[in-house]
């Protein structure tokens, strides 16, 4: 079969349409460049009533939104989850890694938690801070102007608190705390843990004429039909098209490799169309990879040629290495003070926490480096599959007998509605060369493309962090007058540390640096080995922070886009 080649040469091909690809699209198209986006999944627009799950009721689903077809519940707006049919990944024996993929325009930005935290000055200088890992080749001051512009372009609520490592920004005003969040504020403060308003990219206030304002359904995970939350499609790609940008989107197109010429420069990409299962080629002056940290590493490693025998951009042998996810641990408690609630009002709020705790610890007194923040959940949410399933299982915490049947079940459901509060710790795991993904030479996906094999171990530092999280949660629950719903997990359970990958903050596989021997890209996200290939997803992260990665992905993508425009103008690439 002959590979079908396009005659048109684009200025830029962007592989992937999530946070990084969306931002590059917006910036490069606004600069007048001719763009082709290549996306592995179908088209998706949150405003399309045909695919919309926002404002649907559980009873519209025959399984009442049980998570059988979508891992986070039938309402979740992610097409694809820990598994994507026909696209496996494998593991080195005895290791674990969970990999979430959303196959759709906008990628995982359609369902994410919208927690939008800037990295702070310390987060870019890990080695200087405590000797672990490496420093980034850039500092907070390099990224700050882009965070500032990002806040204004995309919109994020929060407050300026003047905290050293949780920088201020250009915030929309936050929503008022919910009832359980008031209990949390009191409980955390008793232990000296700071609580501040959440920082989430949802519009509590208008930022332009194109996007709606939040109407507080609490369903950002379903992707907002009026574009009041951030998704890469609705807030970056569609606006780029609307303002006249030259943006063509190739959907259902699974990139196999970056193609190169005799000089080793990139000429474009080849992709498999999921519609006809044939291979196509697109040509461009510049290739921007934004397929997600692991997918981008996979594409590079699969792009082998005479000039790049070890895979594209991999002369350092670092592609796929330093893979790291956030640490995570979760707990919940029954708070009697929140029992027997009035249901007289709607407290859905935004789709996430109205308050949270940024990292407060003093590592010189702790047995682990770096920190974590605490996310809090609870309240009188929408009943979906599983609601009331263990009707009065909470009885045992009050010395009552769980079980039985009859009218009392109705009373029990109402008694406990909104009385459970949950906590998620999200922290920084260390970047280690020994944790990596590589090509599994024995396995291909249904398109014949070799797949990734993961090799990941947590260290005792991450376990110690999880232990600290659980001790903190227990203390806060007690401070709230509550009862923990489970005992603190012990050493045999890694102290409750979630499996690698489960927090869906995987980064680091194509890290940036000044030394081409120990890094994949330079400080402008440009491959050391090939000057017309850029990476604008979380692969370039030298280290995670105790922050979620999306805001930094977008700031760096914007910064890299400015550099691409500059280099094209100067005819350097």
């Amino acid at each position: 079969m002959q590979i079908k080649e396009s005659a048109e040469v684009y200025d830029v091909i962007i592989v992937g349409s999530g946070a990084g690809g969306g931002m590059a699209t917006k910036q490069l198209a606004d600069a007048g460049l001719n763009i082709a986006i290549v996306e592995a999944g179908p088209f998706f627009d949150p405003a399309d009533p045909v695919t919309q799950t926002q404002l649907k009721w559980a009873y519209e689903s025959p399984r009442r939104f049980a998570g059988t077809d979508r891992a986070f519940g039938g309402h979740d707006m992610s097409w694809g989850d820990w598994e994507v049919e026909g696209e496996p990944y494998t593991h080195e024996e005895g290791t674990e890694f969970k990999w979430w993929r959303s196959r759709m325009l906008g990628g995982r930005t359609n369902h994410w938690g919208r927690i939008s935290l800037r990295f702070g000055p310390k987060d870019f200088k890990g080695k200087t801070r405590d000797g672990h890992g490496d420093d980034w080749p850039i500092s907070y001051d390099d990224v700050k102007p882009y965070y500032d512009k990002l806040d204004k372009l995309v919109g994020v609520f929060g407050t300026n608190e003047g905290r050293e490592n949780d920088p201020d920004g250009f915030f929309l005003p936050p929503p008022k705390p919910r009832l359980h969040e008031l209990f949390y504020i009191d409980g955390a403060k008793k232990s000296g843990i700071p609580v501040i308003p959440g920082r989430l990219s949802m519009l509590t206030k208008k930022i332009n004429e194109d996007r709606g304002v939040c109407f507080y359904c609490g369903q950002c995970g379903r992707s907002c039909s009026v574009y009041a939350d951030f998704s890469a499609g609705s807030c970056l790609i569609f606006p780029a098209q609307k303002s006249g940008g030259k943006v063509k989107i190739f959907v259902n197109s699974m990139v196999r490799e970056v193609t190169t010429n005799a000089e080793g420069k990139a000429t474009g990409v080849s992709y498999i169309s999921k519609d006809d299962r044939k291979e196509y080629k697109l040509k461009a002056k510049v290739v921007v990879l934004a397929a997600s940290a692991c997918s981008t590493a996979r594409i590079l490693l699969n792009s082998k040629s005479k000039q790049h025998p070890n895979g594209l951009g991999n002369s350092s042998n670092v592609v796929g290495k330093y893979l790291h996810d956030s640490t995570g641990a979760s707990a919940s408690g029954l708070v009697p003070g929140l029992m027997n609630r009035k249901t007289s009002y709607n407290e859905d709020g935004v789709g996430g926490m109205h308050v949270y705790s940024p990292w407060w610890g003093d590592n010189s007194k702790l047995n682990f480096p770096r920190g974590y923040h605490i996310e809090v959940w609870g309240g009188m949410g929408q009943p979906t599959y599983g609601f009331g399933y263990d009707t009065n299982g909470l009885n045992k915490y009050l010395g009552l007998k769980p079980g039985g049947y009859g009218d009392s079940l109705r009373d029990d459901v109402k008694k406990y509605y909104g009385a459970v509060v949950g906590f998620g710790g999200r922290g920084e795991g260390l970047a280690r060369k020994e944790n990596y993904c590589e090509i599994d030479p024995t396995t291909v996906d249904q398109f014949g493309i070799p797949v990734l094999k993961f090799n990941y171990h947590w260290s005792d530092y991450e376990r110690a962090q999880a232990k600290h999280m659980h001790e903190t949660f227990e203390e806060i629950i007690h401070n709230m007058g509550g009862i923990p719903l489970s005992e603190k997990p012990g050493k045999d359970q890694d102290y409750g540390l979630h499996k690698p990958g489960e927090i869906i903050h995987e980064v680091g596989t194509t890290r940036m640096g000044d030394d081409p021997k120990t890094s994949v890209t330079n400080k402008f996200n440009q491959l050391h080995d090939v000057d017309n290939v850029f990476i604008v997803d979380a692969g370039v992260f030298v280290s995670q922070a105790d922050k979620n990665c999306t805001w930094t992905i977008m700031a760096l993508s914007w910064r890299a886009s400015d550099y691409i425009i500059e280099q094209l103008k100067a005819q350097n690439i």
Binding site: K4, S6, A47, P49, T51, T53, L55, Y59, E60, P62, R63, A66, D69, W79, N160, F170, L172, P173, P174, P175, K176, P177, R178, F183, D186, P197, T204, K205, K206, V213, F215, Y216, C217, Q241, K248, I249, F250, V251, D276, K278, R341, K342, T343, S344, Y345, N346, M380, Q382, P383, Y385, F387, G388, Y389, T391, G403, Y405, D407, L409, V413, K414
Partner: protein
């Protein structure tokens, strides 16, 4: 042409790279058929993808319980959660249909449900000489009383099948009821509808003995300004 349509016309399918299809090209027939399948499904199934829709339809075409078993499920569900005016009970909530669907959707649930239903009839026939569904309410309750308490110190799957069965049926009945239209009315849940959140009502704050910190509230959104476009000074102070 509305905005969404204008965007969709920019989406190019596989062949476009070589065939030079114009930007405004129409969808091909197979795409149209898929679209129609999704649209007809969406009335019933809340925005499913074609693959998800196919699976739901496949499950709907299968039958797990026979008519007698469905009647037994219905009879048990109303003992577990008796109907109550004005918000009905498990039958109005579609609980038997949910039990049927979940038994197929999560195949590991099927044997527990089927086995438990057989146990109910066996027990009822042995004790009262009548199938469970035809037993009197008192007889049904006597049977349920023997299986409705599980040992909370022991994993459920280490307990007798009839105990596991009752636990599962109670779970499905309560979750089925409270995720239904009538159950949500009974619960009093007020959400899943557009509104403007402006904090917890004072009577609720009073009931639970908490109060808003005025300093905190001063930073929160003044909902009368939500429609005004945000602008800031250079320091990040909101001006509007």
């Amino acid at each position: 042409m509305d905005r969404r349509k204008s965007i969709q016309t920019l989406i190019l399918g596989a062949g476009a790279a070589t065939s030079g299809i114009a930007l405004s090209s129409c969808k091909n027939e197979s795409e149209t058929a898929v679209d129609e399948a999704i649209s007809s499904g969406t009335e019933k199934f809340f925005g499913r993808t074609p693959a998800e829709l196919k699976r739901i339809e496949k499950l709907n075409a299968e039958q797990l319980f026979n008519e007698h078993e469905m009647e037994t499920i219905a009879a048990l569900s109303v003992v577990i959660l008796p109907p109550k005016e004005p918000h009905g009970g498990p039958i109005e909530a579609g609980v038997p249909e949910l039990v049927e669907f979940m038994g197929k959707d999560i195949p590991s649930m099927g044997p527990t449900l089927l086995g438990g239903l057989m146990w109910l009839d066996h027990k009822s026939n042995t004790d009262y000489g009548v199938e469970f569904k035809s037993a009197t309410l008192e007889q049904k309750k006597e049977i349920c009383d023997q299986i409705c308490w599980h040992d909370t110190e022991k994993p459920l799957d280490k307990q007798p099948l009839e105990i596991q069965f009752f636990y599962m049926m109670r779970g499905l009945t309560v979750t089925g009821y409270y995720t239904s239209k009538v159950g949500i009315a009974d619960l009093g849940y007020k959400g899943n509808s557009p509104n403007v959140w402006d904090g917890v009502p004072q009577d609720v704050l009073d009931q639970h003995g908490v109060a808003y910190d005025p300093e905190w509230i001063a930073k929160c959104i003044d909902q009368s300004t939500r429609g005004t476009i945000a602008t800031w000074d250079d320091e990040g102070n909101l001006l509007t």
